[in-house]
């Protein structure tokens, strides 16, 4: 029997239990739209962007110089330092543990080019990403229609030309993009390389006018960065070179008085010279934020180092024997052996007191038995345990892009530091100026003096063996001699041309420029095929390598063609 009270209680309970149904009806009708309106966290949506954010967009345009986007491999495989193009040239070998590691670079080395090569894709992508960021900043600044942005617009135009120039050196068929174009609709067969050069050059000349002589933020491009880039672009532009323009723009840098050569040849690898002396425009490396902003592009290239000095290393990017041999000098004059046959006849250069070499050799590569950036005495001697795959790639690990071990990180990325990588270096522009004078035939004497200025740096390095720290050269183990070219009757245009070309090789070795020099001189094919046949006695894997005229530029990446729905073709407009 149920009492009335219990029954009442039951009714109350039941009634209470039905309340949530009413509650739910109220909630569902009132809160529904709130719960469906979700905005992203931790990011600005497009409508939140203001004029002031153009400054941050500019920063991201500069960030393209790191060529380090989402993974790490795109920085190795498509490096902004272009070391992989030294591997394409007669200066360098891929290195690492085996030919199969970073196989895409091995294929560049063998000139076995396929359109699905990862390096080909990464170089394309890294530069186009950087261009997209640059154009996006440029658009924001132009849309703002504010005079304050004038200088920054010029910087962005500079960067646009910088990234395009890198593409133009490597690829033949490119889409032409600016801040107004819809990147998804532009074809790659509308303009030839030369036509793109001719669109960019006036923009860069205009930027030169708007840029300041110096920038308070030293990482940003100034007037002379634009001038230096103009000189390089005029020199590289396919077809007959306008040497007058090269002379004019390189001359602006030389005559500015703002730059000078380093005291010593190994100063390039010293942090204290970041943005000093020879540095016109450089990748600004920083150890901030868990070394996200260090030179990832060269990060595979740290010597194997016995596993303790730099923690470790991957030992990619080693010099060829051919490059090392170029540093042999005449024991009397201290000049390089410009005659190829004479140089080949002398055999391979090793560590020896029997013949002389240019001291820049030991500032450029590690050699077994020689000091490696030793901060005191000869504590760090480069030995066989620093070498990863002696049998395959030999011993010549590059020195220019890594600080001495005590100033470098000891974990991945190996040997990292805030050492900048210089894209536009004064010695390069000075030698380019000399080259222009030689090609114009107008002032061989000045050209002679300018080349000798560079050689004097090598001389200073030799003279300061005991005081220049860290120590890279050792006269007890290696005989050195370096001398200057006399400005005499022998200094003809032909001889001077040979001299300046050799000087570029010696001074700028392992800095990513040699291949592009070979291409602009029109001698890439002959030089490389001769080199392959010589070098394979030291590196048997080079057997079978050859390069043809059709292989001077990398193919349009297959993935880009596939994704373009017919807008990109493997062949576009010829020059």
């Amino acid at each position: 029997m149920i009492s009335m009270q219990t029954k009442f209680k039951s009714v109350i309970r039941t009634a209470l239990c039905t309340l949530p149904f009413f509650g739910s009806a109220v909630f569902m009708t009132t809160s529904c739209s709130d719960m469906l309106d979700k905005q992203p966290y931790g990011a600005l949506v497009a409508e939140q962007m203001t004029e002031d954010n153009a400054t941050q967009l500019m920063t991201s345009a500069y960030a393209g110089l790191y060529s380090h986007y989402f993974g790490n491999n795109e920085a190795f495989a498509g490096p902004s330092t272009n070391w992989i193009f030294d591997v394409r040239s007669d200066d360098a070998l891929k290195g690492g543990g085996a030919t199969s590691m970073e196989e895409n670079i091995h294929q560049l080395e063998m000139s076995n080019l396929t359109s699905d090569n990862v390096s080909c894709f990464n170089k394309w992508q890294n530069n186009l990403y950087a261009l997209a960021c640059t154009n996006s900043a440029l658009k924001a600044m132009m849309d703002a229609n504010n005079d304050n942005f004038k200088g920054m617009i010029a910087e962005m135009q500079f960067l646009r030309c910088f990234y395009y120039f890198d593409l133009l050196k490597i690829f033949k068929y490119l889409p032409y993009l600016d801040e107004t174009t819809n990147a998804n609709e532009v074809r790659n067969d509308e303009f030839s390389q030369v036509e793109i050069y001719d669109k960019l050059l006036p923009l860069l000349e205009a930027a030169y006018n708007d840029l300041p002589e110096t920038q308070a933020s030293v990482g940003r491009a100034n007037k002379y960065a634009a001038a230096a880039l103009l000189a390089k672009m005029y020199a590289q532009r396919p077809g007959a070179t306008n040497w007058t323009k090269v002379e004019e723009w390189a001359g602006k840098v030389v005559k500015s008085g703002q730059y000078e050569l380093y005291e010593y040849s190994n100063d390039i690898a010293k942090i204290e010279y970041n943005n000093k002396k020879e540095s016109i425009f450089a990748m600004q490396c920083s150890t901030a934020n868990s070394h996200a902003f260090v030179n990832w592009a060269n990060m595979l290239n740290c010597t194997w180092s016995e596993g303790n000095l730099y923690g470790n290393g991957d030992d990619f990017f080693l010099a060829s024997q051919d490059l090392v041999n170029c540093y042999r000098t005449d024991e009397v004059t201290g000049l390089p052996l410009l005659d190829d046959a004479e140089r080949y006849a002398k055999g391979d250069v090793g560590v020896s007191l029997d013949y002389t070499v240019d001291p820049r050799l030991d500032c450029t590569v590690g050699r077994i038995g020689m000091p490696w950036k030793s901060p005191d005495g000869y504590k760090q001697i480069y030995n066989q345990n620093w070498v990863r795959a002696m049998d395959i790639y030999g011993e010549y690990s590059g020195k220019k892009f890594v600080e001495e071990p005590s100033k470098s990180g000891k974990e991945v990325p190996w040997g990292y530091s805030e050492l900048n990588f210089i894209f536009l270096r004064y010695a390069d522009i000075l030698l380019l100026h000399a080259e222009a004078l030689i090609e114009l035939g107008s002032d061989l004497a000045t050209a002679n003096a300018e080349i000798n200025q560079v050689r004097q740096k090598a001389e200073r390095t030799l003279q300061a063996e005991a005081t220049n720290m860290p120590i890279d050269i050792d006269s007890w183990k290696q005989a050195y001699r370096v001398g200057q070219y006399p400005n005499d009757a022998k200094w003809t245009q032909d001889y001077a041309r040979k001299a300046v070309r050799m000087e570029r090789r010696l001074e700028l070795a392992m800095e990513g420029g040699r291949w592009f020099d070979l291409v602009r001189w029109g001698i890439a094919e002959q030089t490389m095929n001769a080199y392959y046949s010589r070098e394979q006695k030291n590196h048997s894997y080079l057997q079978g390598a050859s390069v043809t005229a059709a292989e001077l530029y990398l193919p349009v990446p297959l993935a880009e063609i596939t994704n373009s729905n017919g807008k990109y073709l493997s062949k576009g407009k010829e020059n």
Partner: protein
């Protein structure tokens, strides 16, 4: 409802009560036989019906045997559970239905069949159980990455996991936190008509899980314990140290290089003999060498202990079940482990005749440390490739260092695992729901259900220094995700004579919030576990974290109509609104229609014992998918490492930059999957034999994908877009048989078979092919392999000369086919060389019973799919990876001018022929057939149990992964799905053979 009764002759109202063992049966149907005169019992099991006394009344209720009795006032009817029928009650979307009433394709997992006793993830036990439900089990401790795929893939955006509905609460999270012993039923809604009630989240099917509750009207205690030993099932044959030295010498010689190595002494024939020591660097002592089988060192027998206990009770006032589970599992790889604690409390309270309140609540915590497997530099890869002449440790106890001994940077995998031994990934899941169910009038049930799912992870990784090349660091990561689900439903079940209607309507809101943060700090004075907390670090530090959220609001309706159990119709409509799509397209409607005809219920069908039941089903429905980024419609800019730059040249700082972090697409709409299903269910021989078959066409359109974009569009330009279409056509069949008893012996068995064919009918407007080695190609199945065809090995110079120009070709090297016939081997010579989708899946279960013994076996297999055996790079080629990496014994039979029949090319340290290119050399048929389990169980006789005051005692022994029949040369072709569903063997956690013993006791 009695108004429909128009019988004229004398009737009287009789009353009665329907009960079962537990009390009154509510809602039982009472019909006057052969008429449409009938009623339903009320909440006390009482009924009133105007009927002539003595007329036969038919009492029926879902899950009970139908009773026929003459009408009599005050009659007491007792209904009995029908074990057979009970089995066939299935939980479908927001409802319980008789299996006989189903019109869609619903698979029921028979939980009485043997499970993977050595595994704690129920998903591992689902493999092969239901046709069309493909499970790939993860052999690592915890099995957390096991995955389920229902009726093939429905899209290529990687979202092919089904929706799980646990006690009415939908979730997409892994099931590995659920204690398998807590699960009462598992149903799989395979087709769109059954799943469309879950609308936008159900395109990949729905798995419905119901957990146990107290029942049986008495207190029951269950205790179970299982101990399992795992053994590595198979190893790859690798070279020993002397064999390696000799072959390395040959490989170097083949490339005109000197292969002498200081680890070896050589005889005049070039045979290498491992030295006892290798010299160290100047002034340092040497290092010991001896032959090491790294796989034997890394993998050893591992034990799992699994203890479960539960207490349950039920009665008039309600029911409860409380359970606990503790499992600790060591992996076969050293230091890998998994540990889980789960508790559960399920209860119901009958507040009054009209109201029931209940809840299901679970807390689980699990910890694991698995180590990094997969890829060349993963633990398995390093185990294979580490130099065989290097001991694990030197005699002073220090770990050997490859770099000093063999000049290779392959890390010592034992040292890696040892250093990571205290790493810990801890997860918690709190999952539960509370509900109130009100039955205000007959047949109507109102229910409000609130579910909450809290998941969090807390990872602690200690990176200790090894050989001076790392800086010690501690990294921590913490994140949590919370989902709340509020569901309100009204369900009306009414019988009007021969007509039964079942109507459902509901309203549901789901909200999700996620946040995480992580931190890293370097440099620790001491590297002991106790010291290495993040705050004790003195060096560089970094941190990160973010948030995300989404919401979903839905309305749904369903109506079922059943005429005389003969004709069944069902209509479903779901309306969903999501926060993930743009404001203008954020709603979608997903309809479904289905019908079934039970031919055997027709009057013209003569009842017979041969074909006792036959049902034809036909269904069509739609589902959606919006499992895309939470903010796919927004274009956003953010600061990040890709945007920052040190403009000021400080060397130690940087300026923040802004770059596009997400490119939004306006006007995104749902991806829609339509599915047509035709099915046949039959039972023969008085129900002993059953055969069911389903045919389906599953088409996805407006698929949400992120098509590749041009680099020119800039970083993060990928956009979610409605693009492609895809189609699966498949067929599934099940045959089951339960034998009569032959004395003490009986047997039963079931056989499943499934086949589907996948085809990409459209990719997007711009592309017809996407991907590199693994591709999406219009007109092809998803994830086909695209590469070169390898035609064996060049035997002589003549053959090389006659072949198309192939850089690096020479005798002993692989031949690649000139597909386009242009006389040059280029990337244009690639073609489709494999397909990861199986042509056929089948499974077989056999249970033999003799007296109190049961012997169960279970076989499963997939046929006609291709595996990318990526491990062949490492085992077959001296040119792959580091020079001094060990290789497989396959290289012992490598090509030489005198061993021309070889399948492995000549040993070589360089790869001028580019043999690492993706070719058929790496593709193998993955077809396999496995004896998954064999289990013997024994039920201790009841009389003996009684003496021990117990209800039942069951003891068992089980062997899992007994054998595999396959032509596949790698370890195991059963591999998780990679990009676009590809099956890539890149050195996953090795699968073990497991022997388990245990008991279950009930008292």
């Amino acid at each position: 409802m009695l108004a429909t009764c128009t019988l004229l002759y004398a009737q009287q109202e009789i009353t009665g009560t329907v009960t079962d063992a537990m009390g009154p049966v509510i809602g039982a149907t009472v019909m006057e036989k052969g008429t449409s005169n009938g009623t339903v019992t009320d909440f006390d099991g009482n009924f009133k019906l105007k009927v002539q006394p003595g007329k036969m009344l038919v009492f029926s209720y879902i899950g009970y045997q139908t009773v026929e009795l003459p009408a009599q006032n005050g009659m007491q009817v007792t209904m009995k559970d029908d074990a057979q029928l009970l089995n066939e009650v299935v939980v479908t979307g927001y409802q319980v239905q008789r299996k006989a009433d189903l019109t869609g394709a619903v698979g029921v997992m028979d939980l009485k069949k043997p499970k993977s006793e050595g595994s704690n993830n129920i998903v591992n036990s689902l493999q092969g159980r239901i046709p069309g439900v493909n499970v790939i089990t993860d052999p690592a401790p915890g099995g957390g990455s096991s995955s389920i795929q229902i009726r093939g893939v429905s899209n290529f955006n990687g979202n092919n996991a089904p929706l799980y509905v646990i006690d009415g609460v939908a979730t997409t999270e892994n099931l590995n936190s659920i204690n398998p012993a807590d699960i009462e039923t598992i149903q799989v809604l395979k087709d769109a008509s059954s799943a469309s009630i879950y609308g936008s989240r159900a395109a990949n099917g729905v798995v419905i899980i119901t957990t146990k509750s107290g029942k049986g009207g008495k207190l029951t205690v269950n205790v179970g314990y299982t101990a399992s030993a795992q053994f590595v099932a198979k190893k790859i044959d690798m070279l020993n140290a002397n064999q390696f030295g000799t072959l390395y010498y040959q490989a170097m010689a083949n490339n005109n290089q000197s292969g002498f190595n200081s680890n070896y002494t050589y005889d005049s024939a070039g045979n290498a003999y491992l030295n006892q020591y290798v010299a160290g660097h100047e002034g340092e002592i040497g290092y010991e060498l001896h032959d090491t089988n790294w796989q034997d060192k890394m993998y050893s027998t591992a034990w799992t202990h699994n203890l479960t206990a539960s207490v349950s009770n039920s009665g008039e006032k309600g029911s409860m079940m409380v359970s606990g589970n503790y499992i600790t599992q060591n992996g076969v790889a050293k230091y890998s482990k998994y540990k889980r604690y789960t508790i559960r409390l399920n209860s119901t309270y009958n507040i009054s005749k009209y109201v029931t309140v209940g809840e299901n609540f679970m807390v689980a915590r699990w910890n694991n440390n698995i180590g990094g497997f997969g890829g060349d530099a993963g633990v398995a890869g390093n185990t294979l490739r580490q130099f065989a002449g290097m001991p694990v440790q030197q005699s002073d106890g220090s770990y050997s260092i490859g770099k000093l001994i063999s000049g290779s940077d392959t890390s010592n995998p034992m040292e890696d695992l040892y250093n990571a031994r205290e790493n810990d990934s801890e997860s918690w899941r709190i999952f539960g729901n509370g509900y109130i169910e009100v039955k205000p009038i007959k047949g109507l049930t109102l229910k409000t259900n609130f579910g909450y799912d809290h998941l969090q992870f807390d990872n602690d990784n200690l990176n200790r220094t090894t050989y001076a090349n790392t800086i010690a660091s501690v990294s921590r990561a913490y994140g949590k995700g919370d989902t709340w689900t509020w569901t309100n439903t009204a369900n009306y079940l009414g019988t009007f004579g021969q007509h039964t209607v079942n109507g459902l309507m509901g309203i549901e809101a789901i909200g999700y919030d996620y946040s995480d943060f992580n931190a890293l700090r370097k440099n620790y004075l001491n590297e002991s576990y106790n010291y290495m907390v993040i705050g004790a670090g003195t060096g560089e530090q970094s941190n990160g974290g973010g948030k995300a959220s989404w919401g979903l609001f839905s309305l749904f309706w369903k109506a079922d109509y059943n005429y005389a159990d003969r004709y069944l119709f069902s209509v479903t409509l779901r309306y969903d609104k999501t926060s993930r799509l743009g404001k203008n397209n954020n709603s979608g409607t997903f309809p479904a229609f289905s019908g079934a005809w039970r031919i055997t219920e027709e009057k013209f069908w003569k009842k017979n014992a041969v074909l006792t039941d036959m049902k034809l089903r036909l269904a069509w429905g739609q589902n959606g998918n919006s499992a895309i980024g939470d903010y796919a419609t927004y274009t956003t800019y953010s600061t990040s490492n890709i945007a920052g730059y040190d403009l000021d040249g400080t060397g130690t700082k940087y300026n923040e930059g802004l770059a596009v972090s997400l490119t939004g697409t306006e006007g995104l709409k749902w991806e829609t999957t339509s599915q047509f299903n035709a099915g046949l269910d039959t039972r023969w021989l008085d129900g002993a034999l059953g055969f069911s078959a389903d045919f389906y066409i599953k088409s996805t359109k407006d698929m949400l994908t992120q098509p590749p974009v041009l680099s020119a569009a800039g970083p993060n330009a990928l956009q979610w877009r409605n693009t492609g279409n895809m189609r699966n056509i498949g067929i599934e069949a099940t045959l089951d048989y339960r034998s009569p008893s032959y004395g003490d012996f009986s047997w039963d068995g079931s056989f499943n078979i499934a086949h589907y064919k996948n085809k990409i009918t459209k990719l997007n407007d711009e592309q017809t092919t996407i991907g590199g080695d693994i591709r999406l190609i219009e007109g092809q199945p998803m994830g086909v392999y695209y590469g070169y065809v390898c035609d064996g090995i060049f035997q002589n110079k003549e053959q090389v000369a006659n072949h198309a120009t192939q850089t690096g070709a020479e005798p002993g090297r692989l031949i690649f086919r000139d597909i386009n016939g242009d006389g040059n081997i280029t990337d244009a010579d690639r073609c489709i060389i494999g397909d990861p989708n199986p042509d056929l899946s089948l499974s077989l279960n056999l249970d033999l019973k003799w007296k109190n013994f049961t012997l169960s076996t279970f076989f499963t297999g997939d046929f006609g799919f291709d595996v990318i055996n990526s491990m062949k790079h490492l085992t077959d080629f001296f040119s792959y990876g580091n020079a001094f990496n060990n290789r497989g014994t396959s290289t012992l039979g490598a090509w030489t001018p005198t061993n021309t029949g070889a399948s492995v090319p000549a040993v070589s340290v360089v790869d001028n022929n580019n043999e690492s290119r993706f070719s058929t050399y790496y593709i193998e048929d993955g077809s396999y057939f496995k004896m998954k389990y064999i289990k013997i169980g024994y039920d201790v006789p009841a009389s003996f149990c009684k003496k021990l005051c117990m209800n039942s005692i069951n003891v068992f022994a089980q062997l899992e992964n007994v054998f595999t029949i396959t032509k596949y040369k790698g370890l195991d072709p059963e591999l998780g799905a990679s990009t676009y569903g590809a099956r890539i063997d890149n050195g996953p956690y090795p699968r073990s053979r497991t022997f388990s013993m245990g008991f279950n006791v009930s008292l």
